[in-house]
């Protein structure tokens, strides 16, 4: 089963929930899809090995063959090409690698070459129960989605897969969540938390992926997230209290189930709720 852990608002506790859930279960694959700043391994401290580079295919335009007809410029939905008096200029960081330019070129003046934008890494040893895969987008690169797509090709369908999604609800988050069996939305009981939760819920309805909510730092803010969930029949899978001990462990890079083993039962209970809700195991 593939479970995505997501949130609209950043900093609500996606990584906390992902890690503690992973460490409460056996034989789990954990994918850190927050490729702009993967942080699961700050808590796991696994030795990592590089699996591969991730490339996007970008056009190379032959100056000799190009007659400046502009068909490629017009075809580019991402405005990565501009035609000037004597040449076509290409902006690699705007290119999504769709290949339309080379398809429409009537003179065969465009061929494609791979451009590296980041890497995939994984736990070097699989002896520990949780196997981590993470993507790392190169500094200065704007497009996270190709890395996330590449990362998800390593999903092992025979295991429980937990996907720590990037924050927000734009392309990277959608890339991470798409194709999963269930989505855990982590929020906090504040007006901001509720606002972004309700946007995330709208997204998941569009994606037709079942979802439930974890309310983190429960006890701060107000009752509106509780009320929103009950009014909209959204299951609240777990409430994690706003407790000093949990914050201290977090600040030391320790997933709290390791030092507060009573919480393992809560995460296992959440997992069995998800199994029941999805009818999967």
């Amino acid at each position: 089963m593939k479970i995505a852990v997501a949130s609209g608002k950043g900093g609500t506790g996606k990584t906390t929930v992902s890690l503690n859930l992973a460490l409460s279960l056996e034989n789990v694959q954990l994918l850190d899809c927050d490729v702009e700043e993967p942080n699961c391994n700050l808590f796991l401290d696994h030795e990592l090995e590089k699996v591969r580079d991730v490339q996007v295919q970008v056009p190379v335009i032959s100056k000799e063959r190009c007659d400046l007809c502009m068909k490629c410029v017009d075809a580019c939905r991402f405005n990565a090409l501009a035609k000037l008096l004597k040449s076509v200029m290409f902006f690699p960081k705007l290119c999504h690698g769709c290949g339309a330019c080379s398809l429409v070129c009537p003179l065969g003046a465009i061929h494609e070459e791979g451009r590296s934008i980041g890497i995939i890494e994984r736990s070097a040893s699989s002896s520990s129960g949780t196997e981590l895969y993470q993507g790392l987008l190169s500094i200065g690169e704007p497009m996270a989605s190709p890395i996330i797509h590449a990362l998800k090709t390593y999903i092992d369908d025979t295991r429980t897969v937990i996907i720590d999604s990037p924050p927000g609800l734009a392309c990277p988050a959608i890339s991470a969540i798409t194709g999963t069996d269930y989505c855990v939305l982590v929020t906090e009981p504040t007006p901001f938390g509720l606002h972004d939760l309700s946007l995330a819920v709208e997204l998941l309805k569009e994606l037709h992926i079942p979802y439930g909510v974890v309310i983190n730092r429960y006890g701060i803010g107000d009752e509106r997230v509780d009320r929103y969930c009950s009014e909209n029949n959204i299951p609240v899978l777990m409430k994690i209290p706003n407790e000093l001990k949990i914050a201290e462990l977090y600040s030391q890079g320790i997933p709290f189930v390791l030092k507060m083993p009573q919480w393992k039962a809560n995460f296992l209970d959440m997992f069995s709720q998800i199994q029941k809700l999805t009818g999967r195991c």
Binding site: V73, F78, N79, A80, A82, K83, L84, F91, K93, L94
Partner: protein
């Protein structure tokens, strides 16, 4: 010489729009006949990405020699530099005053 100014509005009181690629209007002034100036609504203001590249291509195609704007981004700047357009960065002020200021400080 054709000067392009990015503007927030399309009237005589129009002020410089400090955004380049997502400005509201382009004002084109032909300095040979100072009377004529033309406002064009920026067709690329709502592009999901690469508005600067498109806008730079657009003013290049319109024959601009000088751009007066706020602070164009690196992609737009490289298009305009390649096209030989002079980029002038002025603070917010009236667009026509900006043209006068440019002409006053650049003996062309």
């Amino acid at each position: 010489m054709i000067i392009c100014v990015t503007t927030k509005d399309n009237g005589p009181e129009a002020k410089i729009d400090p955004h380049f690629g997502r400005c509201a209007y382009f004002m084109f002034v032909d300095t040979d006949s100072m009377q004529e100036h033309e406002f064009v609504k920026n067709p690329y203001a709502a592009e999901s990405q690469g508005a600067g590249v498109k806008a730079a291509q657009y003013i290049t195609d319109h024959g601009a020699d000088v751009l007066i704007s706020g602070n164009p981004g690196p992609h737009a700047t490289s298009v305009m530099e390649t096209a030989g357009i002079k980029i002038v960065k002025y603070p917010e002020m009236s667009a026509m005053e900006a043209v006068q200021k440019f002409l006053g400080t650049n003996d062309l």
